[in-house]
């Protein structure tokens, strides 16, 4: 550091990365999202080789590395496998805290799905609790067509 710059006023230059994105969900995720939107059902996809049932669905099995073949409905009941109650209003959190984030393993699925719990009292959240989805009134084909999961 040059000595003659000590005491210089640090100028802050404000900017941002502002690039619009439109992600193609692809056929597989589109099938999942339209089922949420139009039928209020949660769908999963099964690997014909190892039998794993994936939620969220994906086109290929990460282990067998072959195309997944069979669509099925899972839930709507599920079990909370992990959760946290977010207490601080971090920038990424759109709802007002406290917000309960959780992994929910829907009945019939091999993997858990990341979502929110809708609880009157967030402190009652616990792993192992049984939950069911609450669907949004206005559904647009996004993961938020499920508002969250509430006690079953």
């Amino acid at each position: 550091m040059c000595a003659d710059l000590s005491g210089i006023e640090p100028v802050i230059y404000k900017s941002g990365i502002n690039v619009p994105y439109h992600w193609w969900a692809g056929d597989t995720a589109s099938a999942f999202l339209t089922a949420l939107r139009d039928r209020q059902t949660i769908t999963a996809i099964k690997c014909g080789s190892c039998g794993m049932v994936f939620v969220p669905p994906r086109k290929t099995c990460p282990q067998c590395f072959t195309p997944n073949t069979q669509w099925l409905e899972v839930g709507p009941l599920g079990t909370v496998t992990a959760f946290t109650v977010a207490r601080k209003q971090l920038a990424a959190i759109k709802d007002t805290v406290p917000v309960v984030f959780a992994l929910v393993k829907l009945d019939g699925a091999s993997t858990s799905m990341l979502h929110k719990l809708l609880l009157q009292n967030p402190s009652l959240a616990k792993a192992g609790m049984r939950v069911k989805p609450r669907f949004a009134q206005d559904r647009t084909g996004t993961i938020l067509d499920i508002q969250g999961f509430e006690p079953a």
Partner: protein, 381 residues
């Protein structure tokens, strides 16, 4: 593997904000300290790897900002995106490939310039997950609960990690948060996301680090005692958090086993004298200690409570103060490597681990530690 060694390192002080320094200024400082430490000039450096991340830097092709400061003019160079331990791995492989004799590896981060919550939210799948509003902290909190439930670890044990690491940082002139705190202080600090309090989380930081790796024949160019690379490997777990058992870190265990095997380490808990691990959150230090084979599964919390990982204990972990005392993301793992070099040279002052001959270092990428890189560094060949 051909023998290679780290012959120099340079670190800037880790600070909450460095308003007077650009990325390039920080890297320039770290590079020149590293060159000075090794007693060589930039002309002796045969190729350069920079490590950066376009999201954290707020810039596409973020390596552009630090090329000149890393001395890439007239040299072959490249850029790794991710933690500095991965950048160092690529730097090492460019020596092992026979192409170059010396590699300069740099990594930098200015958390103060951006909003880390939004940047780590962008690591979630844009179609299935991102709109839910999680970030690195809330994801880690999910993991902390899952791991505590699986192992019976307590919030007090997590807090002890914070007490230990902030305490160790008092001996580290580069640390951002040297503090003498108690378990009670941690437990009474603001709850961010259950069960993680503010003092369970690493801070937002600015800093840059550089290391110099050389192949055996060129090691004598360095004026300090070389620190030899015994082993290295890396491994990624599944992506979706719901695909993983969040209470376990099998990818870290696999990477560690391969690195140990390369270094001829059969019993890491006995043959390693210190560890510098990626303690972005208190529970992660304990999880990583177990996955690295430095404690029995489910025993890290209890071992910690007995003082095993403290300075003066049988196996000090993060004697530098770790990331809880300063977390320049991306550079963080390279800082861990540099801290290990200080230990192995016997330059760690009051934080020196007596008889440190072999130190394990861990860096990671992704949410809840999806992808890990493990290094075994040694004072002797």
């Amino acid at each position: 593997m051909d023998r290679c060694a780290i012959i120099g390192f340079g670190m800037t002080a880790i600070e909450a904000r460095k308003p007077g320094s650009t990325f390039a200024d920080m890297v320039w400082e770290a590079v020149n300290k590293a060159l000075d430490d090794a007693g060589i000039t930039i002309k002796d450096v045969e190729n350069v790897i920079t490590t950066s991340n376009d999201f954290f830097d707020g810039r596409t092709i973020s390596c552009m900002a630090v090329g000149d400061a890393s001395g890439v003019r007239e040299k072959n160079c490249s850029c790794t995106e991710g933690d500095g331990t991965f950048g160092a791995f690529y730097g090492l492989s460019r020596i092992l490939s026979g192409a170059y004799g010396t590699t300069l590896v740099t990594a930098h981060s200015k958390g103060s310039e951006s909003v880390s919550s939004l940047i780590t939210n962008a690591a979630f799948d844009p179609i299935y997950e991102r709109a839910l509003g999680l970030d690195a902290i809330t994801a880690a909190a999910l993991q902390a609960n899952a791991w505590m439930k699986a192992t019976g670890a307590t919030s007090e044990q997590l807090a002890m990690v914070s007490v230990k690491n902030h305490g160790n940082a008092r001996h580290n002139p580069y640390a951002q948060l040297p503090m003498e705190i108690t378990v009670k202080d941690v437990l009474e600090s603001e709850m961010i996301a259950d069960p993680l309090h503010k003092l369970d989380c690493s801070p937002v930081s600015d800093g840059a680090c550089a290391i110099l790796i050389a192949r055996e024949g060129l090691v004598k160019k360095g004026r300090k005692k070389p620190v030899w690379i015994g082993g290295v490997n890396f491994c990624s777990d599944a992506y979706f958090l719901g695909d993983r058992d969040l209470a376990k870190a099998p990818a870290l265990t696999k990477a560690a086993q391969k690195a140990y095997s390369m270094a001829g380490v059969a019993n890491p808990a006995k043959e390693i004298q210190a560890a510098e691990v990626y303690d972005a959150f208190t529970h992660q230090e304990l999880m990583w200690i177990e996955a690295l084979g430095l404690a029995e599964a489910g025993q890290a919390g209890a071992d910690l409570a007995k003082g095993r990982f403290a300075l003066g204990g049988a196996l000090p972990v993060n004697p530098s103060g770790g990331l809880l005392s300063g977390h320049p993301v991306i550079a963080a793992g390279l800082y861990r490597m540099a801290e290990a070099v200080r230990q192995l040279r016997g330059e760690a002052g009051a934080a020196q681990v007596d008889g440190a001959k072999r130190v394990v270092v861990q860096g990671m990428n992704g949410l809840c530690g999806q992808s890990h890189c493990v290094w075994v560094l040694e004072s002797g060949k």
